[in-house]
């Protein structure tokens, strides 16, 4: 191949090449509030998943010698026990495992479904898009709790059904958001270039559309996690979610609320942890939104 064409005189900036994503994450790391949120959240996650191993008992073990014990940080039960003698701290941490797992997994699942659905609808356009979005609008119209109860019953009750039901209602918003982004992207020249390069629609959606909706998806995905946790908590609070004896923050809060007048401890610990996690997630989501702001590109 002949090689007598001149090289460009000026090279690109001598800094190492940096993808836009790397730049955005660098911006995120500079946001102190968001990073604090990440830190605290990580600590809570570690505590919930590893903490219970530090105790010789589980949250199901009833210690009949210490029923209704109050907060005594130096005793075997630092935050006391409930009416059955079960250690509160361990129950809250175990409940955290359930709530956080459902939260993150649920958000991930709803996010993936939503992103794919929205990307396909946005790229396809025309009648396909119209029908796909009609379906979304119909689902939006269902009363949320009734839908969850129906689905839960349809899928035979139990935790998996609950999980599926929550995800089923929550993928709608990411789908709508990503679809709008996908529509805008589909009009950009690099998508035309991809078509001119012989790529099929499916290849374009996967290679070009979805990665470029990532920033939007991540920002709204981080808001999905608190939504899922809250949804689970709310349903468990209503009694249709996680059932006793398994702990989740939702049913712990439910128990704590009914005992609020007599024993505030039962409410305080799970509620505080839930609120803290929600704060952290919101700060993180804010930080992500600022970091990924398209105007700053």
């Amino acid at each position: 191949m002949p090689a007598d064409l001149p090289d460009i005189v000026a090279e690109a900036p001598s800094d190492p090449p940096e993808s836009a994503l790397a730049q955005q994450f660098r911006r995120f790391r500079r946001n102190r509030l968001a990073m604090a949120g990440v830190l605290v959240l990580t600590l809570i996650v570690l505590a919930c998943f590893l903490g219970p191993y530090a105790f010789p008992f589980t949250g199901a073990d009833a210690d009949f010698d210490a029923i209704g014990q109050g907060i005594d940080l130096f005793s075997a039960h630092p935050f006391g026990t409930d009416d059955f003698g079960r250690d509160l701290l361990v129950r809250v941490l175990e409940g955290g495992r359930v709530s956080l797992t459902i939260g993150f997994l649920g958000a991930l699942t709803a996010g993936v479904i939503g992103v794919l659905y929205g990307a396909i609808a946005g790229y396809a356009g025309g009648r396909t898009d119209a029908w796909m979005m009609r379906a979304v609008e119909v689902l939006y119209g269902f009363p949320y709790v009734i839908l969850v109860i129906l689905l839960s019953l349809l899928l035979g009750g139990g935790n998996l059904a609950l999980f599926a039901a929550i995800v089923f209602t929550l993928w709608l918003t990411p789908a709508v958001i990503v679809r709008a982004q996908a529509q805008a992207l589909s009009r950009r020249e690099f998508v035309e270039a991809a078509r001119a390069g012989g790529m099929t629609g499916a290849q374009i959606v996967v290679t070009h559309i979805v990665p470029n909706t990532l920033s939007v998806a991540i920002v709204y995905g981080s808001l999905l996690v608190p939504e899922v946790i809250l949804a689970e908590s709310f349903l468990s609070f209503l009694g249709i979610g996680i059932k006793e004896p398994q702990a989740s923050w939702g049913n712990l809060i439910q128990i704590g609320t009914s005992a609020m007048t007599t024993d505030l401890r039962l409410l305080l610990l799970p509620a505080t942890l839930l609120a803290t996690v929600l704060f952290c997630l919101n700060f993180i989501a804010d930080g992500l939104r600022d970091a990924f702001d398209p105007n700053d590109r």
Partner: protein, 325 residues
Amino acid sequence: MTPPLLQARGLHVGYPIPGGLLGRPHLLPVVQDITFTLQAGQVLGIVGESGCGKSTLGRALLGLIPASAGQVLWQGQDLATMNAAALRRGRAAVQIIFQDPVAALDPRMTVARSVSRPLATFEPGLSRAAQHDRAVQALRLVGLAPEFAARYPHELSGGQAQRVGIARAIIGGPGVIVCDEPVSALDVSIQAQVVNLLMDLRDRLGLALVFISHNLAVVRQISSDVMVMCLGRAVETAPAPAFYAAPRHPYSRALMSAVPEPDPVTERARLGTSLPGEMPSILHPPPGCVFATRCPRAQPLCHDMRPHLTADGPRPVACHFPEPS
């Protein structure tokens, strides 16, 4: 006799307009009745202002927009007769570069990936490493050092990004490249670099080019033939030297005198000679000649009856009262 690399025959392209609540969608004609032939080494300059349909024509030539009537032929084969898979593979032969060079690159992909991606379709079976090597080769051909391979689009200047776009277009060994206003968004000193590059590649790789632009002066540098478009139709086609020596259509003349030249003496003399009025909208095309409302030579006949592209000799022109050739 090898068939021409690219041919348009009576090409019409329309945009579907929704027909309201109960009405049927109808077709808004954006490109009407375009015919031309392109051989290797030829450069067809398509000139016109916004709304003339030149960009739509460019995309129709690539099959990115379907024709509503007429044919587009790649090496003698009608696009409409090709099945989807054959069309996708056939795209290696006819490529495109865009007006906004940075927007034409996926912001999430490195330069090497953007340039080599078409090879996955055109030459399946190439390893990733081989694809990367081909990309570096293509970058070299457009004058970019191998260090550019790992860069991202937002790190490139306009001129560099356009070179990347050209590298991507040539990597599959095309015969024709449609250039849609390739230098309009670039600085003057860079425009010249890119135009020179296109001319080099035309000679080195035996390419044919369709050079779409609103700038008659740039078109003149590179084109062997010129087609002037107005409101979707070709109003004049001619070999470039003849065209620039003596344009026949009043719109061609108006375009030429409107392009400002860096020469104060001629330019000051042109002050005050601009054509009044604006082009009619494509939504409400006039019954007669599309240029009649602005033409200094318009007669009543021009407003009533649309002139067709006369086929007399080598200088077809769509005008009732053209300049003699």
